[in-house]
Symmetry: C2
Subunit: 476 residues, 2 copies
């Protein structure tokens, strides 16, 4: 993938979209569904989702103490309307069931765009005493948000996600859990997807509909655009109040619990594609790659076959997901095929290698070729997968560092956002009017107010006293 | 749970329904959702589903060679209409989205009741050559079937399931895969859920809408009613023809592939409840029990606490899911609580036990109390969980054997089905009119034509020459 120089150029934007879509289709990650804006997640893409799910589920249970549950897909229309900001935010995107079982329904049903309201109704039943708190619930589910402009994995009418929901006795506890969820996502995204994220708070205009505070992890993609990777919300008492949920505290006084919600979705697969791909195709982080090592025998020679079988045993013993490509195709064809598919490590073994007791390793992140003793090839492959993870992460971090700008003059800000892309870090006065001006002049949005940044000085947009540091970028 | 003597009695039927619903609610497996016919699967119920999913997913991949994928929730109305029998079978149960994004849709969207059609469209794209076959795909998803009479887990408007779909070059291969899937379900249900199933073929009237052959595993519940536990279908070329799917065989001739589909759902949780529960509450099979062992310290004594901690370490080392109940409640309260929740094994440790270096074990399946040396209590617990699985299975098998009748006279058949419940095994002529007569006179349906049964003799309903053995029962 090119680092596009002129992000304002319409042609190059649509070229980039073609490039992305072609790659998703060619590598068989996904394809368009029959209904506009939907997608079929094909086995190669779904295996990445399974790897994400497995590890994220483990962390959500272990680090946040959550229990999984499942809530209905259909939400009565009057539920969604209970929280005013929530319904205002979501109503343009709702899909509505009006008929079922051959009859018109008395009340239309909303296909869940998110589950705060339906979970709010259960929380109302489950919470009665301080002993019932904290309550931390997670759900893996599909949700529907009717979108006009869709792109596979990044923005689809239906997507898969997990949504966590918690209730707490105090605002401090709720806030702490919400921050802890955000940190969990940021670490997971670094440690599993090899993407460095910027964590922070959203401005009011980008806040979740019905939240008091929205936190997010933002990533910088290799085309210079930002992508929101995960979010976590402090919901205050909004939803608890709408559902009349109260608990008796230790003194028997009725109180309203504070809630949070937090989620990550199949969009993470889009992030992997946009953060790591190069001219040759995908580069999958080893921890989520469906095939971590592809072994290509250079000839059908029986000595080669024996060496490959021996290596296969060692890879199996180390729990490495590998594939031996014995198809009737040329080695060159296979190399290209697996490079495009983003397999982190290729091991080639030919007759000369067997004679020299060697295997050839080719890293997908650097393209580097090295020869390794056959006797220790299994353990070397295992070590190299960790190095490839680090390699991808370092490249992404280096890219982000190089494309995070701190210009002084506003004309320079607009030039960078229009021509170069990347993050622009500015001091900001906190006023929506400045945020709106930036959007109007550059189409860039305020991605996040990064944690623990300086805030003394002048707003980079209006010149008034600054309140905080803000990160701007064009975004998906 | 009583074995109801008079299944035809309306009062006792509704009593049983109350009993079932009360148990589901009290044990916190699930609760009703806000939309009629939907349910919230609570953490205790969802943990059972996670155990089922984990093992079934492993077997589906390993034994059937399936790959997981995900297909859209929304199906265009004209898709569902492509296969005539399919749409006739499902149309009374469909939920329809008519509006989305604030507008009326040009074409209504069906919320998937099953995914043959939307997967058929993808198969059409993916299959072009014999090299693309066999294609074996599995999906974990929610589906919606609008039902009038609903019961949590057994029949809900929305439920969770896996649906497998395959395509093959020949009918024989398709048939073999369909049978293999059925055998996988039957073994899983025995080995994991401790329920003995009867496998066989469905009669034409009970066949899946659009299938040529439907296989099923049927279980007998402790109230004498049958419950369908899993199904597998040979779809012939119906769906491939509707989507124009063809492949080039080894001679370059275009052929139509044969398809199958097979599924199991959250209904399996209903089966666990109905097959194993007794007067005191649930009895969960150890392999799916969220808590396999509950440890109840009889006093807060520090020696007791030390013994409990030691046992906890041993249980952890053996991968046993356990819970130490240190709540401020009486031991009797705790015993009742965990018995109702169906925890397979209770371990009690009091000061006298510690002195005697013993722990008291109480099996949920038999109620048996035994004392075991503290030093080996961990390994004994592990062994006993296997024995409890076998104990539940043997009781269920013994129950089924005792309630499988082979009456000669039709008057005896109707008396048994009306008054005693259970399975009635009969020779059958194969005619739908006899099946209909049975249903009219007893409300019992033909559950399955068991594999490898005799078929020479006279039809137990009309007296004409028999073609097969059929199993009748009242069913959920």
């Amino acid at each position: 993938m090119r680092i596009v120089k002129s992000a304002s150029n319409e042609n190059s934007t649509s070229e980039r979209e073609d490039w992305y879509q072609d790659l998703v289709l060619k590598t068989e990650l996904a394809e368009h569904g029959p209904v506009k804006g939907t997608m079929v997640i094909r086995p190669y893409g779904y295996a990445i989702w399974e790897a994400i799910q497995g590890e994220l589920d483990r962390r959500i249970k272990l680090e946040l103490g959550a229990q999984n549950a499942y809530f209905p897909l259909f939400i009565p229309e009057h539920f969604i309307k209970r929280e005013k900001e929530h319904v205002e935010g979501f109503s343009p995107e709702l899909a509505v069931v009006t008929h079922a079982g051959g009859k018109k329904l008395a009340e239309p049903l909303i296909v869940r765009p998110t589950s705060e309201t339906v979970i709010g109704a259960s929380f109302h039943k489950w919470i009665n005493s301080y002993r019932d708190l904290p309550l931390v619930i997670n759900q893996w589910a599909n949700v529907v948000r009717w979108e006009l402009r869709t792109r596979m994995f990044l923005r689809t009418s239906e997507f898969l996600w997990q949504e966590g929901h918690s209730a707490h006795a105090t605002q401090d506890e709720a806030s702490a859990l919400s921050r802890k969820a955000l940190e969990m996502y940021a670490r997971f995204i670094e440690e599993f997807l090899a993407i460095p994220g910027v964590s922070g708070t959203k401005s009011e205009s980008e806040r979740f509909a019905g939240a008091e505070v929205t936190y997010a992890v933002e990533g910088l993609m290799r085309d210079g655009k930002a992508l929101q990777l995960a979010t976590s919300h402090e919901l205050g008492v909004h939803f608890a109040k709408s559902f009349g949920t109260e608990f008796s505290d230790q003194n028997g006084v009725r109180q309203t619990p504070y809630q949070t919600s937090w989620g990550a979705s199949t969009r993470l697969i889009g992030a992997i594609i946009l953060a790591h791909s190069d001219e040759r195709g995908l580069r999958l982080p080893p921890k989520v790659a469906p095939v971590q090592v592809v072994v290509v025998p250079i000839s059908p020679d029986s000595l080669v076959r024996r060496a490959v079988a021996k290596l296969g045993e060692e890879l199996t013993a180390r729990g490495i997901r590998f594939y031996v490509d014995e198809r009737d195709e040329t080695p060159g064809f296979k190399f290209n095929h697996w490079e495009q598919k983003g397999v982190p490590l290729r091991v080639e073994i030919g007759p000369r290698d067997v004679k020299a007791k060697k295997a050839q390793f080719v890293r997908r992140d650097t393209g580097e070729h090295t020869a390794h003793a056959l006797t220790t090839a299994g353990v070397r492959a295992w070590e190299m997968l960790q190095q490839i993870h680090d390699g991808l992460y370092d490249q992404a971090l280096e890219f982000r560092t190089r494309h995070t700008h701190r210009p002084k003059a506003f004309t320079e800000v607009t030039r960078i956002l229009k021509d170069e892309g990347g993050f622009v870090e500015l001091l900001w006065c906190g006023r929506a009017s400045c945020e709106a001006k930036m959007k109007r002049e550059t189409t860039a949005t305020l991605r996040v107010l990064p944690f623990a940044k300086e805030h003394s000085g002048r707003c980079g947009i209006c010149g008034n006293a600054a309140r905080t540091t803000a990160l701007f970028a064009k975004a998906y």
